[in-house]
Symmetry: C2
Subunit: 408 residues, 2 copies
């Protein structure tokens, strides 16, 4: 019955044919696109061409002839519609961590007399490390960590900057970005959003949110490849007043003038930094091509439909063994669902051995992401069947599943 | 005569066969390896395998199964002997700009009551931008820029950190790194060296220099590919006291524990940062393989022999048209020579059209780098012949050579 319904949903899915753009291994149900998006053969081709032709034959000339210098702007143009942004509001550079550092430092400079950097206890640990690192560097800034459900109550005129991850990486809970941004602005604070678990999976509209700054990674739902470069968003209304703390030469108005004095590039490009990792940039550029003719509402609706199917199946069929974590049906969430099990690492290991790839977040979460470009409704049913089998038979309770795995 | 001598030198060159590891285009004399090192087909193969097999088939599992998590340490192990360092003194991450920011900030924290960040007017512009950016972020630090020949005279007890580029990117002049480091230590200052134009081309021995911190890029003489990740060196004796200002999760002792509190990784790995760009890291890892059985003294001797040949030829044959810039014969320099010509951009354009690729540094320099793994003595003679031809015939004085090119 559920399978029949899934087959019907797949037949009706306007995005079903996009799966063919991806090179997924035979027999694998891949539910970890929220951690590392899948490969498109077109990406492999683009990187090959860049290495063999542009680097190998063109050599240094390819910075101009193959327009490597234009890569950050070109990728910004592809990302902009996914974020509800203008291309000149996006800098593609560095890792999410470095971008968060730059964004927090730049935002804080606009509120120099306020001493609090506010975040919540659901934020991704790196984001907290980066915030603490900035506070540690400056003398007059402290990080305040409050419960995720009480962020608005803790906003006051001491808060210089609020930084939150839009979608909780563990529970999938999704903040009301527009409402929180409004509340922060009401007390004169700026907000830096981390969209790593959002872009390409749930609706993001930085313009409509009246967002100040944001950062995000591109190797999850955007499929840019392992460790592909991240992005930083800065709203146009702030451009003239924002300065990046790390002024690598690509942030210069004219990098190749080798001028003694730094003059920031116009727009968000002032947050570019050192020489970009071209091979990883090329992969990202090619990976984003698929979004050009995707209807974003269809994309995020499909993700929610997959989530709803998994959530309902887990709740009805697996409740004896696992707790379904996070928001209930219909409540805002990311394109992921986590299940709590005391031996989550071993259970995930057993699932992976059976071709269902999710991940494990310590101490006790099984996490499944539903990347709407290549996950089907049938995949969800298959995952539920395998999960039920592994849990009912106790197949996870074997020595080979007890070795801890590092999972990024 | 000169050609005969060059052929003889090539026949005697113990590194001559290394050129076969590189995929240089037919008919090109490539003298811009100081800007972008050439491609090795082994690098193309490694990246292809990583994309098709590790990313495409292994997906998220490759962080463990293909040991992507181990890439920074693996590359550090390859770089260490090139730098006179221990592997645990090197973090491979980010761009040179970001690493310089991290190194300067970390060094300054060890001298919190000193207000001067000293550098010289020959430093690469980005390094100055980054230094200014840090000073701008902190309240009590100023950048002082002094003439390159007077650095030691300007060292005093107000100097927290001295930062210099070992080899001047324009003139090729090379600082006495050991002597300057000693002089800085004598006044209690720390030194951050930028080795971007040094490693793989001139002798570098951070241990013998008693160096504190250093950074460098890997896409020049190390051939890591366009924008390949950079490195940061931190001396063991400082490890316990150094803290990176940007505490991305790969700098954590246990990144995959997702702990609330940041605990720095042991050694220089505390300067790792966000998720590394794996494709660019893989290229770098493969590119460094060739150095494993290269005698470093042979490598740097060959570079100096090529430099001497070009310098002598330019001085004797081209003095009517160009000024040979920088240190004289026998004086310390990098593996590069620059020639001054009022229309340097047009001259370089004409050279490139004739298959001799160097670069142009504004306003008036022609720059030639001699990467010892793949440049031959015959290449140098060929370049001199073409240069002489272009200069005597005035072949550069054509409209098509007047369009400015951005050159990285």
């Amino acid at each position: 019955m559920a399978w029949e319904n899934a087959r019907h949903a797949d037949a009706e899915d306007p995005l079903a044919d996009r799966r063919r753009a991806f090179a997924l291994p035979e027999g694998v149900v891949y539910l970890d696109g929220n951690s590392l998006g899948a490969l498109q053969p077109a990406v492999a081709d683009a990187v090959r061409r860049t290495i063999d032709q542009e680097w190998g034959q063109g050599l240094i000339r390819s910075w101009n002839d193959a327009d490597w210098v234009g890569l950050p702007a070109r990728i910004a143009g592809r990302l902009a519609p996914l974020l509800g942004a203008h291309a000149d509001e996006i800098a593609v550079a560095d890792s999410t961590s470095t971008n968060l550092f730059k964004a927090l430092a730049a935002a804080r400079r606009l509120r120099p007399h306020r001493g609090v950097l506010l975040t919540d206890d659901a934020n991704f640990p790196t984001d907290r490390y980066v915030a603490e690192g900035l506070a540690d560097l400056l003398d007059d800034l402290e990080v305040r960590v409050v419960p995720a459900t009480q962020v608005i109550e803790h906003l006051d005129t001491h808060v210089a900057v609020l930084t939150l991850t839009h979608v909780d990486y563990r529970t999938g809970a999704r903040h009301d970005a527009a409402g929180i941004t409004r509340a922060a602005h009401d007390v004169g604070a700026l907000v830096v959003w981390d969209l790593s678990h959002s872009a390409g999976a749930v609706p993001v509209d930085l313009g409509a949110w009246d967002a100040d700054l944001a950062v995000g990674c591109t190797y999850k739902y955007l499929n840019g490849g392992p460790g592909s470069p991240a992005y930083l968003y800065a709203a146009r209304r702030l451009h003239d007043r924002l300065r990046s703390p790390i002024a690598g030469w690509f942030s210069h108005e004219r990098p190749f003038a080798f001028a003694d004095e730094h003059r920031p590039a116009p727009g968000a490009a002032r947050f570019l930094n050192g020489t970009p990792p071209v091979l990883s940039m090329i992969a990202l550029d090619a990976a984003l091509g698929i979004f050009a003719d995707v209807d974003l509402a269809e994309l995020t609706d499909k993700a929610q439909a997959l989530v709803a199917r998994f959530h309902a199946g887990a709740t009805t069929r697996l409740a004896r063994w696992v707790q379904v974590v996070g928001p209930g049906p219909g409540a805002p969430r990311g394109a992921q669902v986590s299940l709590r099990h005391p031996q989550a690492g071993a259970v995930m290991s057993a699932l992976i051995d059976r071709g269902v790839i999710g991940d494990h977040r310590p101490p006790d979460l099984l996490r499944f992401g539903f990347s709407p470009l290549y996950v089907s409704h049938a995949d969800v049913e298959q995952a539920l069947d395998v999960l039920e089998d592994v849990l009912t038979t106790g197949a996870w309770d074997r020595p080979e599943h007890r070795a801890p795995r590092a999972v990024v």
